[in-house]
Symmetry: C2
Subunit: 277 residues, 2 copies
């Protein structure tokens, strides 16, 4: 008798994850979706209460000994990502000594921002803090702030006057020539023996699901756009912008990102990239 | 020459607001939507950078001198509301001396919870705090916590074992026989002279929009459900559950809620209910 009917999979109700999930069940996935915000799913994955989930690259680096990576899939950008944005009243090079407001939502994006300042702009005295006020309010008051996800997409569409917007995916690409990998598909090692066939099948199910969505984006985007407070074109263009691959250049980029995290004491050690065989 | 082409209206990308907005433009609304999370829109409304917005009842109470209410419209519940939930490992009466985790998102719901404990359960030593961890994680660890909105709807659909769920709308109704009013449509007084015709038309535009949606919920729910990480039936039933009216009983309930807020020092003074004429 089995304890579970199948894999439990983290389901993040954010726009950039819909291409993974929309057609997944019809492509043979028989497990259970556990819906939650990223920080919650990260914690469940760490504790082994979730088998597999898309999760932030920095979460992998922090707890890599617990995980294997699913080959071939990520949430990345090759240039602009559109949803990881620094809003600032001045150029980045003029932010010396300033404090950047951030949400506590994303470990990867904030560490990417820290590296951009230190490594690419030689600014070592830019600090960051999680404020009491909503980030959008601070941005409207022309304070520098990092905003991510659907909220960043929305605010970029109604940019407050006097503010510039800097796309962190674009800066990384300009400086390194590499894509930036924001999220990876991570498998808790505890589950490897219980669901070998299901795990082996998941990669192809994801690939088929994404192809199906990409072939006909508009019907799905139509409903989704309203719930996100965006227009359909914005959603379609966002999905087309995101790079869902995980190839050699992506791995090279992850290695570089993790090395820089170690260099600036954001990580204790450089993680190994271990994959499901 | 006018400074603006029309009213600026707060657009909250939450499930319970979609019935207001989905058909609004085709019913003659010619202003601008400003999309944002509730705390952000509250702040913009206070500062007069937004003309009209659905906003929390407690925000009205806190700054009522700045606002007029749009008659006839609210977000209320007559019994269960489904999206304002206390998760607890024990009955409410056994929560004496415990600390409840809450998000900083909702002023109205947390004050309703405080009143429920004090007035209806005679518990004066239940405290509340905003934790570092995601509320869902604490609930899975069987700690009492208040969760609201789409996240509450989702977690109630996958209730962790050993936890009970208490619907704050239902408790209020059982204790008072009245609906509970979570949100009101608020107009900043600065805008009254600039857009008298537009404000006079808005009430009917909202009413028509809601009727149109209610006549055919499924097509809209289909797309929206996926972006929210919920199934279609859950969304349809949620919209049917919410009471969007603002009638005599709702006003009586608001008066009682505000009186109890004053009684327990959650408000300095009882606000007047002033309406757009």
């Amino acid at each position: 008798m089995e304890l579970s009917a199948g894999l439990t999979l983290g389901y993040i109700p954010y726009l950039n994850c819909i291409p993974f999930f929309h057609h997944l069940k019809e492509n043979g996935f028989h497990g259970e979706f556990i819906t939650g915000v990223p920080s919650e799913l990260n914690q469940m994955l760490q504790q082994g209460r979730l088998d597999v989930s898309p999760s932030s690259s920095f979460e992998y680096a922090r707890n890599w000994k617990k995980y294997l990576l699913l080959p071939g899939h990520s949430i990345s950008s090759f240039g602009r990502v559109k949803s990881v944005l620094l809003f600032s009243p001045v150029d980045l090079s003029e932010l010396s000594g300033r404090e950047i407001s951030i949400t506590g939502e994303s470990a990867t994006s904030i560490n990417l921002l820290r590296i951009i300042f230190r490594e690419f702009y030689n600014l070592h005295n830019v600090t960051d803090t999680v404020p009491d006020l909503p980030i959008e309010t601070l941005i409207r008051e022309r304070k520098p702030a990092l905003l991510i996800g659907d909220r960043a997409l929305r605010l970029a569409g109604q940019l407050p006057s006097g503010m510039q917007v800097f796309d962190l995916g674009e800066i990384w690409y300009q400086q390194t020539g590499l894509p930036f990998v924001f999220a990876l598909w991570m498998i808790h090692r505890n589950v490897l023996d219980r669901f070998p066939l299901e795990l082996a099948a998941l990669g192809e199910q994801l690939q088929k699901s994404q192809r199906q969505l990409m072939a006909d984006l508009y019907p799905v985007a139509k409903g989704v756009a309203e719930a996100a407070g965006l227009d359909i074109e914005t959603v379609v263009n966002y999905w087309k912008t995101i790079d869902y691959q995980l190839e050699a250049e992506h791995l090279q980029s992850l290695q570089l990102f993790f090395e820089l995290c170690v260099k600036y004491n954001l990580l204790d050690e450089k993680p190994e990239l271990n994959f499901l065989q």
